[in-house]
Assembly symmetry: C2
Homo-oligomer: 430 residues x 2
């Protein structure tokens, strides 16, 4: 290839690496005609060069020697697709130090070390791109940075973890219980053998931290994100939610409130007519509210070889234009850390499922307790009791979380209340 | 303001102009912190400086003298928000000739003169930005150009006209007839007094031409778009569609087929579980299928003061970065015109509503005619006849349009067929 080709070193040739490689091979002509630049993968770091691959790669590209990539003066861009946060962190730092552009799909790393890596890139007059780290193939990073840049972003709400959305969809549409839905997700490759990072909301929390950084112009620490997973979601909750006109989704929510930013990942009752309610199976979506644009939503496949590869190669195109043509994409401006609000200060309606012995006075007691905290009730379901235990479902009007907690502490003390089985936040119906 | 401010001349202070002005005023600090650049509107072209405005603008900014903007060496960017294709075309050309950047929301102009204006801008080493010309506040132009740039785009399908979507939604969800729905859309400001450009699909066709240019790397003429409007859509069709599991939407569809590109705007039966089916009221959405990314969708408000203003100011931010910081956004590469396929060659399932006198042999005849053209039927509804006229609804399997036409020509000749009342294309269920 001519001098006009950009030379790429890949770190990792797993699912996403294979996807990126395939796209560069298959759409070579298209990339060249759209940018005027050729794209050439010249080296690929793998741990075992003999391993059978999901993509045909000339054997001579494979290497186990990281340094031969990071210190190759011919290589313009290092693409990190190994995952993890230890080796990848050192390799990316070294690549930047060497004056190379970096493209990465590593959400854990960008969520925890993003500020530092951006600062180092700016010092070295290069850039780090990471569109593939959130939402797979869905354009999210660029729209937040550019297309929606004129907006004060008021809220972002996303279904940004495909595993949990697949499980909740199966529970909701096919009345599967949690364990069967998880087993099916694992069988189909939508959930890992150890699914805890997805189920406990860690994956979504990392992604939220990355998006919130851009939406709210604030440095974000992963511990700023309040996090609740889906492993406690019961099929009964999904059925009650449906009766009330809701579906249950694991949402990642960031809000710019007057006094600070709120960041949360939790199972949420979403009204059935909300655009997020029909985002099902392994699909992801990000719903954004801006002060000018109003409501916009971005929808698509949030993971997978080719979708994620699509974002990696889009980043490579931006890097190539910048290196070869001097077309600079906007830099991330450094931001001070803004005030992060604790969830106890936040306000939202709540869904509660209580189990009580079927005796007179339970409702009267609940009414007194909630009334005492000024919590008014929007919806109530009580079904005939089974085995002497009645199930009571309540949806409150908007209430501050610490007031709800105070009320629930009193509810727990009442002997007739066997259990507060579920407590979920609710997106208000419009 | 300092030298770091970009000086803006607005042409037009109607709905979108007011929105852009308000955003620049309200979010001044934000724009400055995100770009490092100040934004200053220094002159505004209006036809009547005394007119009462929807926004507070210092009287001294207003001028009726176009030349005082186009030839002001202080002005960096001219923002054309007047609409129309005659004066705006000359003003934009003059602005580019003068070495000024241009931002426009003018879809008619960009669809018909886009290639020429891009060429002129490139010659003068400036740019023309037009995110606001399609989809109001929804990011569409940039994602197609950048984020999805690694993909061969196979298909774009959009609800990109809010007026017709509002009318079809009212007909579908509230069983309104066409005339009442149109009257309500006009009363709410979603339809113009003369709604023909929207109803007949012209507005959607212009927007499709702009999007297809980017998606398929081809020059496009507006006459390349096959166009059918919604004014013939009957409430009965919407009801039958619902029975069959569909809703009717005005879709703008562009496809990259093996032998060329197909471009069409027409009422379409969309399966109820398709993401476009739940895009209702004045909302717009673009559904994109790429060879790598799979399916993605962009959703939001496709018109209005603030949403469209949001896109105008995003373009201004890009222009400002380029002018003041040398951050260049990608240029549109010139493209040859690709082959455009006539609709007669295209293939899709069809929905047909026929009215026939209620006599024996009608079904037998239809079966013979369709069978003779190798057209197989997927769904059939026949309801009890009213006044001796039976209504027969058929959905075919995928068929080439010229074969369907040949069959319909025979159907017309059969005396028992009173009328072929409706013929609509269908998006296949998955």
């Amino acid at each position: 290839m001519s001098e006009e080709a950009i030379k790429i070193g890949l770190l990792g040739l797993g699912t996403v690496g294979s996807g990126a490689y395939k796209i560069i091979e298959k759409n070579q002509d298209l990339l060249k005609s759209r940018t005027g630049i050729g794209f050439e993968v010249t080296k690929i770091l793998v741990s075992n060069p003999q391993k059978k691959r999901r993509v045909n790669v000339p054997q001579e590209l494979l290497t186990t020697d990281t340094s031969s990539i990071l210190h190759d003066p011919q290589i313009d861009v290092v693409v990190e697709l190994m995952g993890g946060v230890t080796a990848s962190y050192h390799y990316i730092k070294e690549a930047l130090e060497q004056g190379k552009y970096v493209v990465t799909a590593n959400k854990d790393l960008m969520a925890t070390k993003g500020e530092e890596l951006h600062r180092l890139a700016a010092e070295k007059n290069v850039k780090i791109f990471y569109e593939a780290s959130v939402g797979g193939g869905i354009p999210l990073i660029r729209p937040l940075q550019n297309s929606l840049g004129a907006n004060r972003i008021l809220r972002i709400m996303g279904i940004i973890n495909g595993t949990t959305n697949y499980i909740l969809t199966k529970m909701s549409l096919e009345s599967m219980d949690f364990d069967s839905a998880l087993a099916e997700a694992q069988a189909k490759g939508f959930a890992e053998k150890d699914p805890s990072s997805d189920l406990e909301g860690w994956d979504a929390a990392y992604k939220l931290a990355i998006l919130a950084r851009l939406a709210f112009d604030s440095a974000i620490d992963i511990d700023d994100v309040h996090r609740e997973g889906i492993s406690m979601v019961d099929i009964r909750d999904i059925q009650y939610a449906k009766e009330l006109g809701f579906t249950i989704k694991l949402l990642a929510i960031g809000e710019d409130l007057e006094k600070g930013i709120a960041l949360k990942v939790h199972p949420t009752l979403v009204p059935l007519n909300h655009p997020l309610a029909s985002v099902n199976h392994e699909f992801n979506a990000l719903f954004v509210e801006g002060d000018a644009v109003g409501e916009v939503m971005f929808f698509g496949r949030g993971a997978g070889e080719m979708p994620t590869g699509s974002s990696v190669v889009a980043d490579l195109m931006d890097a190539a234009r910048e290196i070869k043509l001097g077309d600079k994409s906007p830099s991330l401006q450094p931001s001070e850390k803004r005030n992060i609000l604790p969830v106890s200060e936040l306000v939202s309606p709540f869904y509660l499922r209580l189990q009580a012995t079927d005796e007179p006075g339970v409702f009267g007691y609940l009414a007194t307790v909630f009334g005492g905290e000024n919590i008014s009730l929007d919806m109530i379901i009580q079904k005939r009791s089974e085995g002497g235990i009645a199930e009571i479902v309540l949806v409150t009007h908007a209430v501050q979380e610490k007031k709800l907690e105070a009320a629930l502490n009193k509810v727990h003390k009442f002997a007739a209340i066997e259990r507060v089985a579920s407590v979920y936040r609710v997106i208000e119906k419009k």
